[in-house]
Every structure is written in structure tokens, then in C-alpha cells.
């Protein structure tokens, strides 16, 4: 671990890991959002964006998030700009939570995350359904939100571990 920390190039690459992860998650064919399982799917991008906007906002620039949203729209086939808007609203919610929180706790963060994804998924659902006449499966959306919320705990722990033990960022948690 110390060797990794000392190596500047590795450190530099590791610093950009969240951005790389975000772009891979939107560009890659393998999508957690749709694993092909009937009762299991989650939105990895939401977890990543929320966590890093909350805990380490300098890791993910808003402009990168905006571009990732555009890319996601293109790959997924949704109207261009909708994912960017949802990602940025998520960032806004995380930034607001960061500003009002004095003593961070994972439970509070996750509850706030749940409320936020409920709101933005509702917005997304309404926009796609009423404006663009996309037919969406309501049940799939609920499953997706539930698992995204539940897996937030797991990924928050993993990102914490990555930040503290690999990057050596003590303030991450």
C-alpha cells in the first residue's frame, strides 16, 4: 500500500478512478441498470455520483458528470440531456446535504439518497412517459430504486475503503 501511495503516477491515475469508473459505467455494454434479471437491477452511476459529490466533490467535476450524462443518453437512447439533468440534480442534492451536515452518518446519507433518487426517478418517469411517450415498466423502476438504495451501503463502504486505504484520504468517510 505504501508503495502505491509513494508512486506519483499511480497516485495520479487513482485520483481519476471515479471519473474513469463513471465513464466506463456509461459507455460499457455491461449495465448494472439492466442485468437481464427480472428482480434485480441498480443504478451504479447514481451511487457513484452521489457518493463522490457528497464525500469528495473535487474528484468528479460537474462538467464530467454533465458529459457522462450526455454519453449515457446516447448509449441508452433516451432524449439527449435528460441523464445529465438527473445526474446534476443528484449532485445538487449531495452538495446541499454536504452543506447542512455537521456530523456525517451513513444512515442519514442513505435516507437522503433514497429521497433524492425517488424524486429524480419520478421526474425521469414523468418526462419520458408524458413528454416523449416512452412506455416504462413501473415495477422495474421500483425494483431499480430499491436495489440502488440498498447497494448504496455496500458501495459507500467500498469507496470509503478505496479512499482511505488506497488513496490515503483520511477525511473521506
Amino acid at each position: 500500500m505504501d508503495k502505491i501511495k509513494k508512486n506519483n503516477i499511480t497516485q495520479y491515475i487513482l485520483k481519476y478512478i471515479p471519473i474513469i469508473l463513471l465513464f466506463i459505467s456509461v459507455l460499457n455494454e455491461f449495465d448494472f441498470n439492466n442485468l437481464g434479471l427480472i428482480y434485480f437491477s441498480f443504478n451504479f452511476s447514481y451511487i457513484l455520483i452521489f457518493y463522490y459529490s457528497l464525500k469528495k466533490s473535487e474528484s468528479l467535476g460537474y462538467i464530467y458528470i454533465f458529459i457522462a450524462g450526455l454519453f449515457n443518453d446516447v448509449v441508452v437512447g433516451t432524449p439527449i440531456g435528460i441523464s445529465s439533468l438527473m445526474y446534476l440534480l443528484l449532485c445538487g442534492a449531495a452538495a446541499y446535504l454536504r452543506n447542512i451536515t455537521l456530523r456525517p452518518s451513513l444512515i442519514k446519507d442513505s435516507i437522503f439518497f433514497l429521497i433524492t433518487i425517488l424524486i429524480i426517478n419520478s421526474l425521469l418517469f414523468m418526462y419520458l412517459n408524458f413528454v416523449f411517450n416512452y412506455e416504462l415498466n413501473y415495477f422495474d423502476q421500483i425494483i431499480n430504486i430499491t436495489y440502488t438504495y440498498l447497494l448504496y451501503f455496500l458501495f459507500a463502504k467500498l469507496f470509503n475503503f478505496f479512499e482511505i486505504n488506497i488513496l490515503g484520504n483520511r477525511h473521506a468517510g
Binding site: 454519453f71 432524449p79 416523449f132
Partner: protein, 415 residues
Amino acid sequence: METSRDDFVIALRSAFLKKGTQQRFSLLSLIFFSIIFLILGSFNFKAINYLEKTIKEIVYRSSFIVSGPENFLENSYLIVSSHLKLYEENKKNVAELSSLRRKDLSQKINILENIKYKKLIDDYFIGDNEAVAKVLIDKQSPFLRSIIINKGSKNNIELGMVVLDEGYLIGKIVEVNFFTSRVLLISDINSKIPVSLQPGDIQGIMSGKDKQEGVLQYIRDKNLPEINEEMQVLTSGAGGIFKSGIPIGIIEVGEDLEINENKMVKFHRDFSQLKYVKVVSYTKEKKVLDQSSKNESETLENEIKDTNQQQETLRILIEQKKIADEIRVKIQKENDFLRNERIGLKKENDFLKNKVLTEKKINQKNKIQDEEMKFLKMNLYYGHKCRKNFINNGYKVGTAEYRKCVLNKGLKVNG
């Protein structure tokens, strides 16, 4: 109360307006940009469309590259697993091959008959434009089950073209870029395909439901006749989007012999294993004619041509006649006019002739009178020289010799 509201506003303002470290844009401005994109995109604004197309071309290619390692792993896994199953699959294939060989001939006859009958009802479509494309991205999003292929408008791909995988329907083109296109798979919830269930010829609409299944909607006849076998789901051709008879999947009819709206259609193709697809557009075949029909048609065509020519000639002749009639009427009128003129002139001529004759007569009379006057005048001078008396051997007064002599001034002319 007042303080908590202030805190809320400050926190909100800080979250949305403040630029964080290494942030070039505030959150609010980017949200604003996204909304502009959405609004302009929904109005099909040209600049946004161009931007969208550019992003698409870049993203599809990058996505293909980014998905490379994962695809490699997936393919390797598939190769290994298929290798392990090779022996069993071979045994199964041999058995299947022998049964298929038996069916092949009767199927060929059926196909030929089918073509013949379709031609009879003018519903025979042939492949018009065909292209084989590679699947670039196979991202099964929850919003749109679609794939991206590496052929676009450059390769004459057009919206609505049918996409097949080994002859089975898998989707249609819903978006065309210059180098790439998006195929909406039939497993997508938004995909509605008019289908026909065979045997039984039950018409309905199939919508996508799951990765490998579709669901039947709007079925005309819910009760099936006495059919106790799996049913083939084919495109019905209604609506004119798809050609009729493209196989889609099967329905396993249950013991209740009834199809309800939740009946699942199992697709023939596995949409997660698509590598190369065929993009086809169909057009109605121009009727093929045999030699006798061709000759007949040629004769008929010639006859039509001749009739047309005759009709044209007749038309020209009628036109000519019309013109000739007009000319004739004109000439007749002119003729009448000239005749009248001629009669008038003749009358005038006669009148003038009479006048001339009268004049002539008058002139002659005058001349005679003048000659008489001249004779009388000269008679006074030379009469005595020509008159016969006892000293002069002249002429008798009143004779022609006497007159001649007077006019010759008294000179006697012999003979």
C-alpha cells in the same frame, strides 16, 4: 424559524451556485444547459441534432472500444463452454440434421407454393436493399432495448428497415446516423408488431416484455380451435411495415387451449448473442411474365401503340380539316366579294364601252362633219377648177372624182 430558513437558503445557494474546487461551471448553469438541450432537442433544433449526431458517432465507437475487454471475456467464456458441450451438441445435431433433411423437401415445395399464392394476391415482397452489419453496442437499457450497428446512412440504411438474424426478425431501424444505426429490438416494450399465429391464423399485436420474451396484445380471437401444439408467431404484414411471414418465435399453447393477453412469445433468437445482423428493406416484386404472356403483352402494347398513333393521325387530320374549312369559308367569302366586284366592274365596263362607242360615234360624226366642212371650204376655192363646163374638162359635181379633185386643190387625178 427565521434562522433555519436562512440556513436552508444559504445551503441551497452554496450547493447550486458556488463553484467547488476545480469546478469550472456552477451546478445551476450546467442544469440550465441540460434543460436547454432537452427543450431544443424536443423541438428538433438543427444545431442540437448535429451535436447529437456527432456525440453519437463518437460515443458508439468509444463504447465499442470500452466494451472490448468485457466482450473478449464473454466470448472466451462462450467459446470454452461451447467447447465443453461439443460432444453432446454434435450428437444432438446429427439427430436433428437427419430429421431436418426429411422435412427439407416438403418445405421447399411449401415455399414455392407460398410464393406462387402470394404472387397471385400481389403480396409477394422481395429484398430490395440488403446489408450485413456488425453489432457495435448491445446495451440493454431499461428504457430502450436496442443495439447499435456499424452501418448508417452511408450504406443506404433507412429508418424502418427490417433487421434479421439468420432469417428471424429481431427488430427495426429507429435511428440512422452517418456510420451507425440503432435497432429497436422486438423485446422492447415500445416495440409493437402485428403478428399472425399459425396454425389458426389468429391476428394480434406483439409487444416486447423481457429479454427473451414478448407478450401478445389485442388478440382478435381468444379461443383457439382444436390445436394442441406449439404455435408459430410470424409477422402478419398488417400496417405495411414488415413483410408478412417473417418468423419471430413460438407460443407453447397450454392445456386450456386458450390464448390470453398474457401469453408469452418465446423468441427464436437470443438477443444477447447478436454479432452480425442483416438489415433488409422489402419492395413488391414486379410481376414476372412467361414468354407467351410477354408476346401477348407485346402485341397488346403494339396495338395500343398503333391505336394511339391512329388516334394521333386522326386528331391531326381533324385539325387540318378544321383549318381547311376555315380557309374554304374565307376563300368563299373572298370569292363572293370578288364576284360582286367583278359584276360591278363588268357593269362599269359595259357602261364605259357604251360611253366609248357613243364618243366614237360622236367623233366619227364630227370627223365627217369636219371633212364636209373642209370640202365645202375647199369647194369654194377650188370648185371651179374641177367642175365640168364648156371650158374646163372637169368632173360632174357631186361625184367622188369631183370631191377628190376639190380636196387635191383642183388637181385632176387620173384613175
